[in-house]
């Protein structure tokens, strides 16, 4: 097992290097002179030259990359062209907002998804199962931003829960705010995830329920409830754990639209704003941080799957 973890850790090194190369190239892949683009049209020759100097664009590409990588390894991703503040600081202020959103969205997704999936599997081919699976299909196919807008219309503007409009005020920072401020964005993200978890749980449960050891449990005189929750669920959850982990990673990096709709000052919005204002260091920083998080989440998921599954795997 330790060997597996070490191997898996080593494998992430080339992936992370690749990510840094991609992120670094962002600036150079944009057609035209990056300094000119950053400065904007009609900027004076002097301004462009200053920016070029600041971004180190006068050096050769490999040297530039070396500097970028060296700095990144020390946690220095340069500073924002617009605000002048260090990129890490800018990201740090938004990071926990996104993490909070992703965390609660994952909780909602797991809670709704598991219940729906289990009910669906236990009552499969009944009306309950069909309804849940149709709802899950909706959850999967409905674009997040659209569902978010619908929620705003129903709850906030439709006056069912005017307090939820509070999310429209800029959120100062992460934890500890009223649940009303985050309930709608969390639902927007979480329901899509719930749909995936529900489908996964259902198919996994159905597969497990057909296994020989479930028959053994029944032959012991165990009740159907215990068969479902003690014998089947624990086995069925192993593949679901993977999905949950990946979803959390996805929420961290993919909450851009939701954050934009709900005007949440998370990493997603930071990225969008930076792209709009051509603030290259911030774009590079957010993309790098999101990618690294995604790689790490993947790593954790892989290892935990392996830990959970080791009993099955080895025969």
């Amino acid at each position: 097992m330790t060997k597996f973890i070490i191997r898996r850790l080593l494998q992430t090194i080339p992936v992370l290097l690749g990510v840094t190369i991609l992120v670094f190239s962002l600036m150079h892949l944009v057609p035209g002179d990056p300094a000119q683009i950053v400065a904007g049209e009609g900027a004076s020759e002097q301004t462009v030259e200053n920016i070029r100097e600041r971004l180190g664009l006068n050096e050769s590409i490999p040297v530039q990359y070396g500097t970028f990588l060296g700095n990144a390894l020390q946690g220095d991703l340069g500073s924002s062209i617009r605000s002048g503040r260090p990129v890490m600081e800018e990201i740090g202020a938004r990071f926990w907002v996104t993490v909070e959103l992703a965390f609660y969205a994952t909780l909602v997704a797991v809670f709704l998804g598991l219940i729906a999936g289990i009910v669906s599997a236990v009552r499969h081919y009944t009306l309950a199962d069909t309804s849940i699976m149709i709802a899950a299909l909706f959850g999967l196919s409905m674009p997040n931003f659209w569902f978010g807008l619908l929620l705003i219309q129903w709850f906030a503007i439709g006056n069912w829960m005017p307090e939820s409009l509070e999310f429209l005020k800029m959120r100062p920072s992460g934890w500890g705010d009223s649940w009303r401020q985050i309930i709608l964005p969390v639902l927007t993200l979480g329901t899509g995830g719930a749909a995936i978890i529900a489908r996964m749980t259902r198919s996994s449960m159905l597969e497990v329920i057909g296994q020989d050891y479930i028959r053994t449990a029944r032959a012991k005189g165990v009740s159907e409830r215990i068969v479902t929750y003690r014998h089947a669920l624990k086995n069925a959850l192993i593949p679901v754990v993977t999905v949950v982990g990946l979803e959390f990673g996805g929420f961290l990096g993919g909450a851009v639209l939701t954050e934009t709709i709900f005007a949440i000052n998370g990493m997603g919005r930071l990225t969008i704003d930076a792209i709009r204002t051509r603030d290259f260091p911030i774009v590079q920083g957010t993309v790098l941080v999101i990618s690294v998080i995604f790689v790490l989440v993947n790593l954790i998921v892989d290892i935990s799957y392996r830990l959970l599954n080791k009993r099955i795997d080895m025969n």
């Binding site: 053994t216 029944r218 032959a219 012991k220 009993r311 795997d313």
Partner: protein, 352 residues
């Protein structure tokens, strides 16, 4: 036989499954008696309905299966009339079962000890601690070395033979009246097979259980069983005590089966398998199900299904040859052996 108390009496059991291609009658006329403290073997080729018979007794069929007819009398009470709650009290407690596939029959995410304890806690009101202690004793009983360590193992840490021993320990946990062993050795290596057989036999004697031993291997039956029910295509076709069955089998199918076994006591030029194939459950012959393969089949055999008849010794047979209505010759040659048809007195005369 009549002196013995019959602990389980299965009468004309019929079980069918709904499938995409129609209804499949997996069990269609199974009857046998299990005297208390004895072992009955149920033999038959793969697909003849042995497993479904045992699952029907415990009412553990897959959701597409239903018991259509019959009685399963356990100590005189019909299990088919029991409520689900009553059945649960019985399963794993008074009647327990071990399965063919030791590799997949244990839950991979619980330790051996947890799985044995479960039945003890459920049926014997033991505390977790007491159950854990008892689990170690049970592992010792089934011959697992260093049971106090093994009890903490997960199934993947054990070999197939060890897992089957665990299954046996689990099934014995509550001192059942009846143990149903469904091909307990089929999936194991030959040497391990012998050990497991020996273990079951030994435990049966020590604990005084009644055992239903399911197998497709007549050799195993000869070693382990007191009575034998031979199954063919979902039906019991011959039921006898083991001596009679091996010495004087009556049914053409049984004779054919015995003939196809390697023997040590007589010289054999070659082993003769029975010609033909088992009928498909979707396309059962209307008459005797063995008729298409039977060397002695007559028009009667092909037209009408024989009933399971009991003879003067309490043995049972499903064959027209031994009935009043037999329309063939009075001396029937079956795979090189001769059997005397019961005949209809003077009417059974050779044509010339």
């Amino acid at each position: 036989m009549s002196a013995n108390e019959i602990i389980l009496d299965v009468k004309d059991l019929q079980t069918s499954f709904k499938t995409d291609t129609g209804e499949v009658r997996a069990v269609d006329g199974v009857s046998f008696q299990l005297p208390k403290g004895k072992t009955i073997g149920i033999v038959g080729e793969s697909g003849s309905g042995k497993s479904i018979t045992s699952l029907s007794i415990l009412r553990l069929l897959a959701s597409n299966g239903t018991i259509k007819n019959g009685e399963v009398l356990y100590k005189g009470q019909d299990l088919l009339k029991f409520s689900e709650a009553q059945m649960r009290k019985l399963r794993g407690n008074e009647i327990s079962m071990i399965f063919q596939e030791p590799m997949t029959s244990l839950n991979p995410v619980y330790t051996v000890g947890q799985q044995i304890s479960e039945a003890l806690i459920l049926h014997q009101n033991m505390s977790k601690k007491e159950a854990a202690v008892r689990s170690v004793e049970l592992l010792k009983l089934v011959g697992i070395p260093s049971p106090d360590k093994r009890v903490k193992n997960y199934p993947f840490e054990l070999s197939g033979g060890m897992r089957q021993r665990v299954m046996i320990a689990m099934s014995l946990a509550c001192n059942p009246e009846i143990l149903i062993a469904d091909e307990p050795t089929t999936a194991l290596d030959v040497t391990i097979q012998a050990q497991i057989l020996e273990l079951i036999k030994d435990l049966q004697e020590r604990l005084g259980m009644s055992v239903i031993f399911i197998t497709h291997d007549l050799g195993v039956v000869a070693e382990t069983c007191d009575y034998v029910a031979v199954m063919y295509a979902g039906q019991v076709v011959e039921y006898a005590d083991v001596r009679t069955l091996f010495k004087e089998p009556k049914l053409p199918y049984t004779i054919g089966l015995l003939n196809s076994l390697p023997r040590h006591d007589i010289e054999q030029d070659k082993l003769e398998p029975i010609q033909g194939n088992v009928p498909s459950p979707h396309n059962m012959p209307v008459g005797c199900r063995f008729a298409p393969r039977c060397p002695a089949a007559t028009d009667l055999c092909r037209a009408k299904m024989p009933k399971l008849e009991t003879d003067e010794n309490g043995n049972q047979i499903r064959c027209w040859i031994y009935s009043e209505e037999w329309d063939g010759e009075s001396e029937v040659n079956l795979y090189g052996e001769t059997r005397i048809a019961k005949g209809r007195g003077t009417k059974t005369v050779l044509p010339d």
